[in-house]
């Protein structure tokens, strides 16, 4: 049951990434075709402007949650395919859980710290 739930979360996180990364791509990477008005989305002023808006901070943190889970769960699946013993599988699981938590804590801290400036 746990495996089914984790797999369903994997699918749901894919939908979440498609939505939030779609917003990110449309605003920052298709700015010419879609005429979003931001001609230099990677400039400091543009970036810090988004970083201080709560809406963007929420979008980036949700994207972070979905992205880290989807990416690490996908990579874990590939590694587990090549792993034969239960002990090795458990070790891989714990490495990914710890790595995911550390990655999320650090990557979520930065947009929150920038928004608070």
């Amino acid at each position: 049951m746990l495996k089914t739930r984790m797999h369903l979360l994997f699918l749901l996180s894919a939908v979440g990434i498609a939505v939030f990364l779609g917003i990110h791509m449309a605003v920052q990477h298709l700015n010419r075709v879609l005429a979003t008005g931001d001609v230099s989305p990677t400039s400091w002023l543009s970036m810090i402007g988004r970083a201080t808006q709560n809406g963007w901070v929420v979008i980036y943190i949700l994207l972070l949650v979905f992205g880290i889970y989807h990416g690490l769960y996908g990579l874990r699946g590939i590694i587990i395919e090549m792993t034969k013993t239960d002990k090795a599988i458990a070790t891989v699981n714990w490495i990914f859980i710890v790595a995911g938590i550390i990655l999320f804590a650090w990557a979520a801290y930065v947009p929150i710290a920038l928004a608070a400036r």
Partner: protein, 149 residues
């Protein structure tokens, strides 16, 4: 003396990505999905480094990083990332739809010669491939117009 019969291993490892049987188009999409997924994961690692470690150090470090990244090698890399994103996202959507049993038609009795629902409904796969191509053209158009990808 009877020859020893060795069972075929069911864990093919990375070799199994490139040959897993007579699956044809869907098998190649599976390989593409994995390769693009790993590529995107590698990119996200670099991107997180850039947007956390570099960004938190302030404007001068951020601008120096952007200046460093503004060269043809990284530009090509970004185009590849955009293509990988489009392929991975839309092929992933196809996989989710088919895994959950949507658009697959009603179950049929297995009558020889056997066929599977994935191949009977290959037109759905072709539609997704067409959308992937259209989106890739949009990304490249954005590039031609002059915006950074």
């Amino acid at each position: 003396m009877q020859n020893e019969v060795r069972p075929r291993p069911n864990q093919l490892g990375i070799g199994g990505w490139f040959w897993g049987g007579n699956y044809k188009l869907e098998r190649y999409l599976y390989i593409l999905h994995r390769v693009t997924g790993l590529g995107l994961l590698l990119f996200v690692t670099f991107h997180l480094f850039e947007t956390t470690v570099m960004r938190i150090q302030g404007q001068s470090v951020w601008e120096a990083t952007m200046k460093f990244l503004a060269n043809p090698v990284f530009e090509v890399g970004l185009i590849l990332v955009a293509l990988a994103f489009v392929i991975h996202m839309l092929n992933g959507a196809r996989l989710i739809i088919q895994e959950l049993g949507f658009l697959m038609g009603k179950p049929e009795r297995p009558v020889y010669p056997y066929s599977d629902a994935i191949r009977r409904k290959r037109s759905i796969t072709m539609v997704f491939i067409a959308v992937i191509i259209v989106l890739i053209i949009v990304f490249l158009l954005n590039r031609v117009i002059g915006g950074a990808l």
